[in-house]
């Protein structure tokens, strides 16, 4: 029996396809790990063991019948609870969606299932993807597998922690301002926010529509590339989906192992400013040296509007959120306040009871900045600065193939350390929001550990639609290092019975 929790996705799927192992056995091994270890971490909001077994059996039946069970045959994955799943409760870790069982499936999760992946369950997150620490979940925080008193990052904290701990072979998350990359960095896994529009948003609960990027997280570069190859591609059900060819990510990552000759990497000065943790900086500088030894040419570049990206991001994302979250009103699904005598009272009390503090704060800010008389001063201004931020990237990509920076200015911080000050929490995104505003692809991978044993993340940013170069650089770095082979120690604490948000 192979160590299924340590195997790469391509190996697992290959063995299932060749019928060397059964998808059902792989699924049981992962379900067993979740049952033994997730009590200490809190990654899963809901384990769909019955559904997972049925899906695994279907993969085995297809393989036995000589049909192609798909490139992800029998690969156990889990989904951030922002992807709607037909017949499986989807809450976005919010009280207001408690009990919502969607009648349809997101395109991204449907594509993963069609490729033979076995969905184990739904993962914890910051409520409606609003947060950078996973502490804004109505179901409680997720703990970082590398240090249980630290956060896993957010908002895809459950996704990153579950992948790091081997409680799924890969996961899907979403990144609006850093919500895949920052938790990937803090948990020492790989995560990519592809180009805006690469992966369909159909069936992904909307937070900020012009910024929401679904994408995969995996333990290795190849795992992440394999998942993205399945998730990416045009979807007529998402009007912002890009009708351009996608794929070739695994091959690009493999090509990186042969060196980075001819690749020019820009190093933006604005991403190495005071506030950057010294150990993080040292690890990232060492990674840059490694990329140079792999054959890349490093050049200093400037992205002068970087310092305005966080303010721009919070104006735009809150404005869009205030509109998107207007649909939660106690009428069609989820929580409904008792005893309201009028429709307005029903709306206000349902939303007051159902949303958590950060979600309410962002809806309030977004409502304020869209208000008549304030719109141009705040939202209009932010949309114009967004273009300046995007133009910074266009300018440097005229002479660079990729940019390399730290992902997060700090390693994982302690639970509760930043919850008192919303603004301080927003600054956790300072190095990830600008690529989100520009819509360019950006990946995080581990590039070392602090003396305290916490992972450090390296961010690789590419041109629009050029995920291949991002994967080539990531593949080159991984081929020359062994950080991705380290595993966190796990504490056996059985998962608690499923509660309600």
């Amino acid at each position: 029996m192979i160590d299924v929790a340590g195997a790469e996705i391509a190996e697992l799927a290959g063995r299932v396809r060749r019928r060397e192992i059964r998808a059902r056995d792989v699924t049981e091994a992962f379900l067993d790990r979740v049952a033994r270890f997730d009590g200490a971490l809190g990654c899963y909001l809901r384990v769909d063991a019955g559904g997972a077994r049925r899906r695994a059996d279907a993969v085995d039946a297809a393989a036995a019948a000589g049909r192609d069970p798909g490139v992800l045959a029998g690969v156990p994955i889990a989904l951030k609870d922002i992807f709607v799943t037909a017949g499986v409760e989807t809450t976005c870790a919010s009280r207001i969606l408690r009990g919502f069982v969607p009648p349809y499936e997101s395109t991204a999760s449907a594509r993963l299932a069609a490729a033979g992946a076995v969905m184990l369950g739904k993962l914890n997150m910051d409520e409606f993807a609003m947060g950078s620490s996973n502490e804004n979940s109505a179901r409680g925080p997720v703990r970082n597998p590398w240090a249980l008193d630290c956060v896993p990052g957010g908002s895809s904290g459950g996704s990153a922690a579950a992948v790091a701990a081997g409680l799924c072979a890969g996961a899907a998350g979403t990144d609006t301002g850093g919500s895949i990359r920052q938790p990937a960095a803090l948990c020492g896994v790989v995560g990519i926010k592809p180009t805006y529009g690469r992966v369909s948003r159909y069936g992904v609960v909307a937070f900020a529509s012009s910024l929401d990027h679904p994408g995969p997280l995996g333990r290795t570069v190849d795992d992440t590339a394999a998942l993205l190859e399945v998730m990416a591609g045009h979807d007529p059900r998402d009007a912002t989906s890009i009708p351009a060819p996608a794929g070739g990510y695994r091959a690009a990552a493999a090509a990186g192992a042969h060196g980075l000759g001819g690749v020019t990497i820009g190093v933006p000065d604005e991403y190495f400013q005071p506030g950057l943790d010294a150990e993080v900086e040292a690890a990232v500088r060492a990674a840059l040296d490694e990329l140079a030894r792999a054959g890349a040419t490093l050049v200093p570049v400037s992205l002068p509007h970087t310092q305005y990206a966080v303010a721009t991001y919070y104006l735009i994302c809150t404005a869009e959120a205030s509109s998107n979250l207007a649909r939660y009103d106690g009428v069609r699904h989820g929580h409904r306040a008792d005893g309201a005598r009028t429709l307005d009272e029903l709306y206000a009390r349902t939303r007051g009871e159902g949303f958590g503090a950060e979600v309410k704060r962002r809806i309030m800010l977004g409502t304020y900045v869209l208000r008549a008389g304030y719109y141009e001063a705040y939202y209009g201004k932010a949309l114009r600065v967004r273009r300046k931020v995007a133009e910074d990237f266009a300018a440097v990509f005229a002479r660079c193939d990729a940019l390399v920076t730290p992902t997060s200015p700090v390693p994982a911080f302690r639970l509760g350390e930043r919850t008192a000050d919303p603004l301080q929490m927003y600054m956790a995104d300072v190095l990830t929001v600008a690529p989100a505003l520009a819509g360019v692809p950006a990946l995080s991978q581990g590039c070392g550990f602090t003396r305290a044993g916490l992972p450090v993340g390296l961010q690789i940013i590419g041109r629009p639609l050029d995920e291949q170069t991002v994967f080539r650089v990531a593949g080159a770095y991984q081929a020359r290092t062994d950080w991705h082979t380290r595993r966190p120690p796990l504490t056996a604490v059985p998962a608690t019975p499923q509660g309600q948000p």
């Binding site: 029903l346 273009r387 300046k388 819509g439």
Partner: protein
Amino acid sequence: MSRITPQEVREIAALARIAFDDQEIARLTGELDAVLAYVATLREIDTTGVEPMTHAVPFDCPLRPDVPEAPLPAEDVLRNAPRRAAHFFEVPRMMSAPDDGGGSPGTS
């Protein structure tokens, strides 16, 4: 120094349809004030003549053939409703009843 008053926060809460108690209004006033002070740094940038950027990737709004497709079955959609009556979502009354002496829509 205050960019936003508790009264304005109450007005925003009414627009956002969120019920808050007085303690929450006081806390939100301070928090929103701090965030608004922070985002005011954008005023340093000259954006004269810069077009607003509403989406990361320029795209033409695609059109599909205007052919009807099967919608979700009504029963699937209604199954999640907290309150329903036959094939309808049930809500409290939207207008005051005549015997309340009239009143504006949505008031109790």
